[in-house]
């Protein structure tokens, strides 16, 4: 859907990759035509930003459900959908259907299942799924245990030019664990696995990526040991990127107190030292992407004993506000925040969006970065309110959203 007339936003603080600057942005035919110096012309739809931030719409990398109200609340205009649907996205027809499921006001970019039924055994039809609209390949919620399969997957994906998105947790060690081994898991008596399960998997996947030249994206890296491996690999020039969700820089395993199933996540919450390591890695550029991991789960999945509950959190609504805490705490500047939630994920899936630049898609969010609000699991826009941040006061709210120059909502 193309907008009927051009859009001009004046009086805003424009978040560009090189910094935040006052100015005007003008969009024509759904594309950004000018950033900084421009004037509204006759017939334009004119919006006065009133000093608020004008930023690229968020590109949420790796969600488990298409949940439009939650995405739009959170300023998300594009979402990369994990293949863990029912049935899984391991067939071109399902990929094609998923790719069109959000249009026009939310673009869904399916991630193809790396293996048939995500079982980690037989490679799925990756080239055909690429034709059908898959923007990358993902191993899903679990890792591929067989290193031979992983090697062939990376070789094949490298040939096709597809990024491989992995879940980095050694399955043999993680087993049926629901928490990270340590004092908290021991006190609560929860099945737990050592945090090193992550570093082991990261080490293997980096070695194989280095060998094959494939582009590897570790969807969530949450421990110091694994982040050190990513940092070292990047300095060697390996094509590896890393992501994380706000849970792992906001919370440690102390959040499990009282068997709170909203804090049951995969990978599980880590000890405080690892949380600090994630913040460092966001600051020094080791982490490239922050995503919501949006996975709304109702009472049937969450109102259960901790170990029996399904992991996952509804994160789309809180992603922006929690990333902005990093800006307020001085961990990263504002423009880097939007690299993490928009520009870098857009580049991973190869779409011309996620930044304010001439020629990019006019996916825009108007944001009041200081606006205070309280997360309330009972009043979420998402299909379920399973947020580990319930009752937490946060700042930063989307006040306007455009997809391809057309206002959303």
């Amino acid at each position: 859907m193309k907008p009927s007339r051009p859009l001009t936003i004046t009086g805003g603080l424009l978040v560009t990759p090189s910094g935040v600057k006052g100015g005007t942005i003008r969009c024509v035919q759904g594309m950004i035509e000018a950033v900084g110096e421009a004037r509204p012309q006759d017939g334009d739809e004119h919006v006065d930003a009133g000093g608020q931030i004008v930023a690229p719409g968020l590109v949420d990398f790796g969600v488990f459900a298409i949940d439009k109200p939650a995405f739009h609340f959170g300023g998300i205009t594009r979402a990369a959908l994990m293949p863990d649907e029912s049935p899984p996205l391991d067939h071109p027809a399902r990929v094609r259907f998923a790719a069109s499921s959000g249009k026009p006001d939310l673009w869904v970019h399916p991630l193809a299942a790396a293996t048939v039924a995500l079982e980690g055994e037989h490679l799925a039809e990756l080239a055909l799924m690429r034709e059908a609209g898959a923007r990358a390949v993902a191993t899903g919620r679990s890792w591929i245990a067989d290193s031979g399969v992983m090697l062939r997957l990376l070789q094949y994906a490298a040939m096709l030019g597809l990024v491989v998105v992995t879940h980095a947790e050694d399955g043999g060690i993680a087993g049926t664990a629901t928490a990270t081994a340590g004092e908290m898991a021991t006190r609560l008596g929860l099945p737990s696995a050592p945090a090193e399960a992550e570093a082991l998997a990261v080490a293997r996947d980096i070695a194989l990526a280095e060998m094959t030249g494939a582009r590897l994206h570790l969807r969530q890296v949450t421990t110091r040991a694994a982040l050190d491996l990513v940092r070292a690999a990047k300095s060697r020039g390996v094509a590896v990127t890393a992501g994380v969700t706000p849970a792992h820089f906001m919370l440690s395993d102390l959040a499990l107190q009282g068997f709170r199933t909203f804090a049951r996540l995969s990978p599980p919450l880590r000890e405080e030292a690892d949380r600090q390591a994630v913040i460092e890695a966001i600051g020094d550029g080791t982490i490239d992407v922050i995503a919501s991991g949006h996975d709304p789960r109702g009472p049937e999945d969450k109102r259960l004993p901790f170990a029996d509950a399904t992991p996952g959190m509804a994160g789309a609504e809180t992603l922006l506000a929690l990333v902005l805490t990093l800006v307020r705490d001085g961990v990263i500047p504002m423009e880097r925040a939007f690299d993490l939630v928009a520009r870098n994920p857009a580049s991973l899936i190869g779409v011309q969006a996620g930044e304010l630049r001439v020629g990019a898609e006019a996916d825009l969010a108007l944001i009041d970065p200081a606006k205070p609000w309280i997360v309330d699991s009972a009043k979420m826009a998402a299909t379920a309110g399973n947020t580990p941040f319930d009752r937490q006061p946060v700042q930063g709210r989307v006040t306007g959203l455009w997809k391809g120059g057309v206002p959303v909502g």
């Binding site: 068997f259 259960l304 004993p305």
Partner: protein, 336 residues
């Protein structure tokens, strides 16, 4: 006549419900030290009663208690059933194998169903840590944790403390302070170990835990225990040795090569027991695997093994817990 009117320990505890302000008994972790002492002291009258020929009171007459066991149990279930019946309550046992849990009903729905039947207390055993707390948050009556996953088994911790207190007093010792207790076995999968660590430490004991690395939970040092992999070293100077069985039903994957090898390293034999303090007390929460973690010669050692006393104290402790937790509903003065 209620114990609230004639406490055998008047003045030692705050009056009425202040002595034990909890609605449910979910774990030792929620209890203050004086509340543990209170339950132990309350249990003494039931130890007395249980040794009479007429072991019955009508204190809980008219009350309905459900023993909802989602995990198999013989001794704990029996102990709770006897405790409830000796107090005059109507006791109903619900076995998960016979319940609608098998038909897909959720735990919460089961809890709501029990709640709607207006029961006066629910005793729950469940295979998942935290399950009992989840139910307690949904129902109006007191809930007693009879074991949740690998988390806690508070009445076991209390009954062990009571049995130990009796054994210590018989030896002329009044205090737990500085008492060296070695707990050996499958610490990782044991809720009994966790409740005992918390309970014994609260009472002043020094607790050592001993297990092969794969059965030792990570970070348990933070609970204030000393850890050992070498059983002989752990026994050095121990005044109490508590043996735990291997919980094969909770093990996924192989944790030890064989029972024979386990016995070689961790079995409590008469020779090993000689390394502990003279007259060291031997305990085991049961069921025992004789010839694996404990030899019969030790398990049946008169004057040293208090394993059957533990079982006896179990009934008294559970009577005390049921009595104390139902006082509010029964309108006992100072508790309602």
């Amino acid at each position: 006549m209620t114990s609230a009117n004639t406490p055998p320990f008047a003045g030692r505890y705050p009056a009425g419900a202040l002595a034990f302000p909890h609605r449910s008994l979910l774990g030792i972790g929620q209890l203050e030290t004086h509340q543990i002492h209170y339950l132990l002291d309350e249990a003494e009258q039931w130890v007395e009663l249980n040794r009479q020929s007429k072991k019955h009171t009508d204190r809980l007459a008219g009350l309905t208690i459900i023993n909802a066991f989602f995990e198999n149990s013989t001794r704990t279930l029996l102990s709770f059933e006897i405790a409830g019946k000796r107090l005059g309550a109507d006791v109903v046992n619900m076995h998960a194998a016979q319940s609608s849990v098998k038909k897909g009903e959720t735990l919460i729905d089961t809890a709501m169903t029990l709640n709607a039947m207006r029961v006066d207390a629910i005793v729950i055993r469940h295979g998942s840590s935290g399950a009992v707390q989840l139910i307690a948050e949904q129902v109006d009556c007191p809930v007693l944790n009879a074991g949740d996953g690998q988390h806690e088994h508070p009445t076991q911790g209390l009954l062990d403390a009571l049995a130990l207190r009796h054994a210590l007093r018989a030896r002329g010792r009044q205090e737990f302070n500085g008492l060296v207790v070695t707990i050996c076995g499958d610490i990782l999968h044991s809720r009994v170990a966790r409740s005992n660590i918390l309970c014994l430490q609260a009472l002043g004991a020094v607790v050592r835990v001993c297990a092969p690395p794969a059965l030792m939970p990570s970070g348990i040092e933070a609970m204030g225990v000393e850890t050992f992999h070498d059983f002989n070293a752990a026994l050095e100077g121990a005044e109490v040795v508590m043996m735990l069985r291997l919980q094969n039903e909770r093990m996924q994957g192989q944790f030890i090569p064989s029972p024979r090898e386990y016995r070689h390293l961790y079995g409590l034999t008469a020779e090993r027991l000689a390394r502990a303090a003279p007259d060291a007390i031997v305990m085991h929460p049961g069921p025992m695997n004789r010839g694996v973690e404990i030899d019969s010669t030790v398990a049946d050692l008169a004057g040293r093994s208090i394993i059957t006393d533990q079982v006896e104290m179990g009934v008294a402790i559970r009577m005390a817990c049921l009595d104390v937790l139902t006082r509010r509903a029964r309108g006992v003065e100072g508790w309602a």
